[in-house]
C-alpha cells in the first residue's frame, strides 16, 4: 500500500516530518516494527524546474501544421515563447511548463534529461509544455491518456502562473510503499496505517469528520435490496444520491489518488476509491438509471449467466459458486466484492447513483477472484477482512462527498439488507505469560503503555489484562496475537539473546542417517562428485531405469511445463541429463553420483512409497597424467564403474555380492550389464547405458549404476570382525588356463573355491588374453592362488597337493587346458 505521509498527517494528532531523511528513517522503523517497506519515493524523483504557466496566446507555426507557438506567463515580467505540438492547448489554460534548465524523466527510457532551449522548424522554444506521462506519471495513474495532450489544470484548482508545479501536483510528497503480509489488511487503509504508525511513534489517531445532509425523496422509494443468504454477506447497505454532476475530481483528490497509485477517473468513482483508501472499505457505485429493475440482490450466479466486467472481459459465471450483485430480471451487474460490470458503469451522463457498502464473505470473494483471475483492490481487502465498524461510516462519508463534489442530493435513508453485529472479542493476558513466551522481564506498566499506544481498550482485573480486540484488526483473535503486538512494539532488537535450557538432549545421528552419509562420503572418496537433480521429469524419464517398470508413477495434476510432469522412479535418468549438459558444454570427463528419493504411486489418496536410491555415472577418460606415456589417459570402461560399486559395497559392509549378467534392462547395454545381489537379495544394477540413448546425444559411452539404498543398508553387516594378522608366511601358485570363451570368471572362481581346501587365502585373476595366437573360441585366464596357514608354517607338499586338486577340478569341470 502506497502511503503519502502528507495525507497520513491528516489522521495523526501530531504530524510526522515529510522531508526525505525523516521519511527514510521512518521507513526503517516501520520495517523493524511493522511491515516490510518496498520503497520510499516521491513522484517527482530527481525532476525539478516545473512551473504552472498560463497560456496567453496561441499562434500558428509558420512552417508546421501540427505545432503552434504559444506565449505563456509564469509570473515573471516577460512572457515565454514555447512551441508545442499538444493538440489540446488553448488560450487561458493553466498548464505545466518544463523550463529551460529543468530536469524531467524521459518517459521512454526513464533517464533524467535536461530541457534546453530548442529551435523547432525555425522557431525558438524556451521549454516544453508537458503531459503528466512526461514528468514521471505511469499511464496507470495519469488521469488522461497521453494522446489527449498536455496536462491542463481545472478551473477550480485555483492555481497561479509561476506556482511550483511539483508541489501543486503533490509530486514532492514522500510516499512509503509497504509490502503487506496477508494478515495486515488493516494497513490497506490510511486509518489503519495511522493507527499502526501512531502506535509506533506514540501519536494518537484523528478520525475524519463529515456532515451528511439528506433530501427527499426516500431512498427506499427508489431501490430495494436483498441478500440471498446471510452466508454471502454479513453487512450490506446502499445509499441513493440524485441529480449529480459527474466530472473530474478536484486536484486535491486526484493528488491523493495518484500518490496512492490509483488513476483518477471521475468524481464519483474517485470518491468510492478515496473512501476505500481512507477506511479500507471498498464501495461500488451503480448508475441507478441503468438498472433494469430497481431491485438489487446479492446472490450466487445461476446457470448460463455471463457478465462483462469493467476490464472489458466477458466472463462465464460459475453457477452456484460466483457471488454476484444482480437485479431481479437480468444478467448480473458485477462480481460482488471483486469487480464492477460495464452495464451499470457510472459515466459522464450519469444523474442518479446507488452506492453499496458491504462485508462480503471473505472465502467466497477469494474463490470468485481466483476463479476469474482478478486481483482487484476491492477483492484483496474483502479476502483479508475489512473493518466492519466502518462499513456504513464509509458509505455515509462517500455520500457526503458526492453531495460536496458532485452537487448531488443524498436520498433520505440508509437501506440495509443485512447488518449482523460483530461480536466483541475480549482476550485476557498476563504480564507473566508475556514474559514467559518472550523471555523478557516486562512490567505491567510496560505492557499497558504498549496497549495504550495501540489504542486498544482494556481493563485490569487482578493480574489479568482484559483487552478488547478492535474490529479494525481482523487479524487478531487470540493471546498469541497480543503477545506479538507487545513484542514488536517493545522491539525485537530489545529481546534478550539466550539458548534453550532444560533437560539435556543428545544430538546424534540414527544408524540409517550414518549409513546414508557414509554412502555419500565413500563415493566421494572414490572420485565422484555429488549431483542434485530435479525430481520432477517427463513420464518417460521417470521410468527409464526404474526398478519395476510396471510400477505406477506419481503425476502432477496441473504441471507447469511438459518436461516436469512426473516424479522420478530412478536417479540415472537425471544423471544422464547432467551428463548431456556437461558434454554440450565441452566437459567430457564426468564422474557424478546422486543420493535421493524415488517415488512409487499407491492408491489415489494414499501417499506414494518413497525409496532412497544411490546412483552414479562415469564417462570420458580417466586422466592420471597428461604427459607420462605409461600413465596416459584412457577411456573409462565397465570395470571402472563396477570397481566403484565393489569398493562402495565393501566399505558400507555388504558381503557375498554377486554380479549376474543381464539383458533385462531395456535402457542398458544387453551384453554389458550386471544385476547385483547379496546372497539372494537384489540391490540394483551396474553397466553401460544403452548406446541408443547416449549416441543420439553425441556422448561417449556412459557407464552407470543404480542401487536401492534401503536394501543396501539393511544388507550391510553391523560390525567389523577382527582377525589377528598372521605371522606365518604365505605361499603362492600360479595357474594359466586355456578355456572356452563362454566360460566366465565367476565359473572359474567357483570351481577354484570349491576345490581349494582350507588353506586357500586368496585368488587373484592376473591375466586375461583372447587373441589370434589362441585357437578360435578360446581364451586364456591366469590366476594366482595364495595359501596361508594361520596356525603354522605351510608345508610345501601340502600346498602342492591342494593346488593339484584345484587344477584337476578345473580340467574336469570346465574342460580347461592347463598351460
Amino acid at each position: 500500500m502506497k502511503t503519502s505521509l502528507k495525507w497520513l498527517n491528516e489522521y495523526l494528532e501530531e504530524s510526522v516530518a515529510v522531508d526525505e531523511q525523516s521519511a527514510a528513517d521512518l521507513a526503517e522503523r516501520i520495517e523493524r516494527t511493522s511491515v516490510e517497506v518496498d520503497s520510499v519515493t516521491t513522484l517527482a524523483g530527481k525532476q525539478d524546474g516545473l512551473v504552472v504557466a498560463q497560456v496567453k496566446t496561441v499562434a500558428p507555426h509558420p512552417d508546421s501544421d501540427h505545432m503552434v507557438i504559444t506565449q505563456v506567463d509564469i509570473g515573471q515580467d516577460e512572457l515565454i515563447q514555447v512551441v508545442t505540438g499538444a493538440p489540446n492547448v488553448a488560450e487561458g489554460q493553466y498548464v505545466i511548463l518544463a523550463q529551460v534548465g529543468s530536469h524531467i524523466i524521459d518517459h521512454n527510457t526513464d533517464d533524467i534529461i535536461e530541457i534546453k532551449q530548442a529551435t523547432l522548424r525555425g522557431e525558438t522554444s524556451f521549454g516544453m509544455l508537458v503531459a503528466l506521462q512526461e514528468i514521471g506519471f505511469d499511464n496507470k495513474i495519469a488521469p488522461k491518456d497521453f494522446d489527449a495532450g498536455i496536462y491542463v489544470f481545472g478551473e477550480e484548482d485555483n492555481v497561479h502562473a509561476g506556482d511550483d508545479a511539483i508541489a501543486i501536483l503533490g509530486m514532492n510528497e514522500p510516499v512509503i510503499d509497504t509490502d503487506l503480509t496477508p494478515n495486515r489488511s488493516d494497513m490497506l487503509s490510511m486509518l489503519g496505517t495511522a493507527y499502526e504508525f501512531g502506535a509506533m511513534l506514540g501519536i494518537k489517531v484523528v478520525i475524519p469528520d463529515f456532515d451528511l445532509v439528506e433530501y427527499e425523496p426516500l431512498a427506499a422509494d427508489q431501490i430495494q435490496i436483498s441478500v440471498e443468504s446471510d452466508e454471502l454477506a454479513s453487512k450490506y447497505a446502499v445509499r441513493v444520491i440524485n441529480n449529480i454532476t459527474v466530472k473530474d475530481s478536484p486536484l486535491w483528490l486526484q493528488k491523493r489518488l495518484w500518490n496512492a497509485g490509483m488513476r483518477p477517473i471521475n468524481n464519483v468513482v474517485d470518491i468510492t476509491n478515496y473512501m476505500m483508501l481512507v477506511y479500507g472499505q471498498p464501495l461500488h457505485a451503480f448508475d441507478l438509471d441503468k438498472l433494469t429493475t430497481k431491485q438489487l440482490a446479492v446472490r450466487r450466479a445461476k446457470n448460463n449467466e455471463q457478465l462483462t466486467t469493467l476490464d472489458g472481459q466477458t466472463r462465464q459465471l460459475r453457477a452456484g459458486e460466483d457471488i454476484v450483485i444482480a437485479t431481479n430480471d437480468a444478467q448480473p451487474l458485477m462480481l460482488a466484492g471483486v469487480m464492477g460490470g460495464m452495464s451499470s458503469e457510472v459515466d459522464r451522463s450519469t444523474k442518479n447513483i446507488v452506492i453499496e457498502s458491504a462485508v462480503f464473505n471473505p472465502s467466497l470473494v477469494r474463490a470468485t477472484a481466483r476463479r476469474h483471475n482478478i486481483h482487484s483492490e476491492a477483492s484483496s481487502r474483502f479476502e483479508r477482512g475489512v473493518n466492519s465498524d466502518h462499513t456504513f461510516t464509509a458509505l455515509d462519508h462517500a455520500a457526503s462527498l458526492v453531495d460536496t463534489l458532485a452537487t448531488g442530493q443524498v436520498a433520505r435513508g440508509l437501506l440495509t439488507a443485512v447488518n449482523q453485529p460483530r461480536e466483541a472479542i475480549q482476550q485476557a493476558i498476563t504480564v507473566n505469560r508475556v514474559n514467559h513466551i518472550l523471555g523478557t522481564t516486562l512490567t505491567l506498566a510496560d505492557v499497558t503503555t504498549i496497549l495504550d499506544r495501540l489504542a486498544f481498550e482494556y481493563t485490569i482485573v487482578d493480574s489479568k489484562i482484559n483487552v478488547v480486540l478492535p474490529a479494525r484488526r481482523p487479524d487478531m483473535s487470540i493471546e498469541a496475537d497480543l503477545i506479538e503486538e507487545i513484542a514488536r512494539l517493545y522491539g525485537y532488537d530489545n529481546l534478550p539473546v539466550t539458548l534453550p535450557y532444560g533437560p539435556t538432549t543428545p544430538g546424534s545421528l540414527t544408524k540409517a542417517q550414518r549409513q546414508i552419509r557414509a554412502s555419500r562420503k565413500i563415493l566421494e572418496s572414490l572420485g565422484m562428485n555429488q549431483a542434485i537433480s530435479y525430481a520432477l521429469t517427463t513420464p518417460e524419464k521417470a521410468q527409464q531405469f526404474a526398478e519395476n517398470p510396471a510400477a505406477k508413477v506419481v503425476t502432477l495434476d496441473y504441471p507447469m511445463s511438459s518436461d516436469r510432469t512426473t516424479v522420478r522412479q530412478n536417479l540415472l535418468a537425471g544423471l544422464l541429463e547432467d551428463v548431456a549438459y556437461n558434454v554440450n558444454h565441452s566437459v567430457r570427463d564426468i564422474a557424478l553420483y546422486e543420493q535421493g528419493r524415488v517415488f512409487v504411486a499407491n492408491g489415489k489418496n494414499e501417499l506414494p512409497t518413497e525409496i532412497e536410491h544411490l546412483a552414479g555415472v562415469l564417462t570420458g577418460n580417466i586422466v592420471e597424467s597428461s604427459w607420462q606415456q605409461e600413465k596416459a589417459e584412457r577411456v573409462v570402461d565397465f570395470y571402472d564403474i563396477k570397481g566403484i560399486v565393489v569398493a562402495y559395497l565393501e566399505q558400507i559392509g555388504v558381503k557375498n555380492v554377486r554380479y549376474v549378467a543381464t539383458d533385462r534392462h531395456a535402457n542398458m547395454h544387453p551384453g554389458r550389464t550386471a544385476d547385483i545381489y547379496t546372497d539372494d537379495v537384489y540391490l540394483g544394477f551396474v553397466g553401460q547405458i544403452h548406446p541408443k540413448m547416449t549416441r543420439a546425444k553425441k556422448m561417449t559411452p556412459v557407464y552407470g549404476f543404480e542401487l536401492n539404498l534401503f536394501t543396501v543398508m539393511s544388507a550391510a553387516k553391523e560390525t567389523v570382525s577382527y582377525q589377528p594378522v598372521t605371522r606365518f608366511p604365505q605361499v603362492s601358485r600360479d595357474v594359466a588356463l586355456l578355456i572356452n570363451d563362454t566360460i566366465t570368471n565367476e565359473q572359474v572362481m567357483t570351481v577354484i573355491h570349491q576345490a581349494a581346501g582350507s588353506k586357500l587365502a586368496d585368488v587373484t585373476l592376473f591375466d586375461v588374453y583372447a587373441g589370434d595366437k589362441l585357437p578360435t573360441g578360446k581364451k586364456s585366464l591366469a590366476y594366482q592362488l595364495t595359501y596361508q596357514n594361520n596356525e603354522g608354517t605351510l608345508v610345501e607338499a601340502e600346498v602342492n597337493d591342494d593346488f593339484e586338486v584345484v587344477t584337476k577340478a578345473l580340467v574336469a569341470e570346465l574342460g580347461a587346458d592347463i598351460r
Partner: protein
C-alpha cells in the same frame, strides 16, 4: 728390525696407502688384513717373540689391525656415499612437472551447507529428522497446510503455489509438516523436542535466476516447557554466525506466517559488525523466517499450548549458498555442471 718396528712400519705405510687409494678398497683390505695379507704375515713372527714381550707386541699388533680396519671402513663408507651421490645426481627429475591426477569427489555445495547446519545443531543437542516416514517429500494437504494452520481457503496459500497430485496429495511446499509428524511421536518425558528437518521442497514456480520449482529447506523446531522467543533469537544468532562468521549480527523484523505467532523475518548483516559501528552502516539481508509456533498448530499436534511453548524456523540452503559464494543463478545448483560443482572443494571449513 724387530717385529715391533715392522708392525709400526706396516701401520705407517698402510695408513698412507689407504688414504692415497682411489680404487678398490676391498682389494686393499685383502692385501693388508687377509689370510695371506701383510699383517697376518708379520704376526706369524709372534711365535719367535720372547714370552715376556708377547703382550706388548700383541697390543701393538691389535692397534695396527684396529687402525687399518677403522680407516678402511671410513674409506669404504666415503666411497659408497660418493657413489650414491653420483647415482642420485643422475636420477634428478624436474619436480615442477605436474603430479599424477587423483580425482577427489566433492559433496554438492548445497549438501555442504546442509552438513554445516546439521553439525551445528547436533552440537546443540538437536535430532535430525530426514527419513521417509517423518519427512516425506510427497505430503498430504492436511500436514502441509491444514496442520500448519492454513485451511483450504486461507489467503496465505497464495504465498506458496503448489504442485498438487490429487486434491489431497501434493509435493510439499515446505519442510514444516515434519514438525507435526515429529511432535505427534515425541515423548516429552524424555525432555524437550529439539529437531531440524533438512530436505527438498517444491513450489509451482517458473524457473529463473531467483526461482526454482525445487529447492531445499531446513526446518527447525524446539518444543518445551520454557521455550522463549529470546531462545529463538539466540539459536538463530548462533547458526548465522556459524554460517556467515562470528562477527555477523542478526535482526528480527515482524512478519507473518500462519503457523507462527509472533512471526519474524530474520536478516543477517552482510558486513561484519563492530561495537563502534553506526546502525545505518550495517547492510542487512533477509535470510529466513521464524517465529513462536502458533497455538493452533501445537493443539492440532496434541500439545497443550498452555503448558508448552515452541519456536520454529526455516533455513534456505540454496539462498545461503547463493549469498555465501555469490552464485547469481539458483538453476546452477541443479544443472550439475562439473565446472561448477568441482569449485566447492574446501574441506575442513
Amino acid at each position: 728390525m724387530s717385529l715391533i718396528e715392522d708392525l709400526k712400519a706396516l701401520k705407517a705405510t698402510a695408513v698412507a696407502r689407504i688414504n692415497a687409494t682411489e680404487a678398490d678398497v676391498e682389494a686393499l683390505r685383502v692385501s693388508l688384513l687377509g689370510k695371506k695379507g701383510e699383517l697376518t704375515a708379520l704376526l706369524k713372527g709372534m711365535k719367535d717373540v720372547a714370552p715376556e714381550e708377547r703382550k706388548t707386541v700383541g697390543e701393538i699388533g691389535n692397534d695396527v689391525r684396529q687402525t687399518i680396519t677403522t680407516l678402511l671402513a671410513q674409506k669404504k663408507a666415503a666411497e659408497e656415499t660418493a657413489r650414491l651421490n653420483e647415482q642420485l645426481a643422475a636420477e634428478t627429475i624436474d619436480v615442477t612437472l605436474p603430479g599424477s591426477a587423483h580425482q577427489v569427489g566433492q559433496p554438492h555445495v548445497l549438501q555442504q551447507i546442509i552438513d554445516e547446519i546439521e553439525q551445528h545443531f547436533l552440537g546443540l543437542g538437536f535430532e535430525i529428522i530426514d527419513d521417509i516416514v517423518d519427512s516425506p517429500e510427497v505430503e498430504t494437504d492436511e500436514y502441509n497446510f491444514e496442520r500448519e494452520n492454513l485451511p483450504k481457503d486461507h489467503p496465505a496459500r497464495d504465498m506458496q503455489d503448489t504442485f498438487y497430485i490429487t486434491p489431497e496429495i501434493l509435493l510439499r511446499t515446505q519442510t514444516s509438516p515434519v514438525q507435526s509428524r515429529s511432535l505427534e511421536k515425541h515423548d516429552f518425558s524424555k525432555g524437550p523436542l529439539k529437531m531440524i528437518a533438512p530436505g527438498k521442497v517444491y513450489r509451482r514456480d517458473t524457473d529463473d535466476a531467483t526461482h526454482s520449482h525445487q529447492f531445499h529447506q531446513v526446518e527447525g523446531m524446539v518444543v518445551g516447557e520454557n521455550i522463549t522467543m529470546a531462545d529463538l533469537k539466540g539459536t538463530l544468532l548462533s547458526i548465522m554466525q556459524k554460517l556467515f562468521g562470528e562477527k555477523h549480527q542478526i535482526r528480527m523484523r515482524p512478519s507473518y506466517f500462519p503457523f507462527t505467532e509472533p512471526s519474524v523475518e530474520v536478516d543477517v548483516s552482510w558486513n561484519e559488525v563492530t561495537p563502534d559501528m553506526k546502525p545505518e552502516d550495517i547492510e542487512w539481508i533477509e535470510v529466513l523466517g521464524a517465529g513462536m509456533t502458533h497455538p493452533n498448530v501445537l493443539r492440532m499436534d496434541g500439545i497443550d499450548p498452555e503448558k508448552y511453548s515452541a519456536f520454529a524456523f526455516g533455513l534456505g540452503p540454496d539462498r545461503f549458498a547463493m549469498l555465501k559464494y555469490g552464485v547469481d543463478d539458483i538453476r546452477q545448483f541443479y544443472l550439475n555442471d562439473v565446472r561448477f560443482l568441482s569449485q566447492f572443494n574446501r574441506k575442513g571449513n
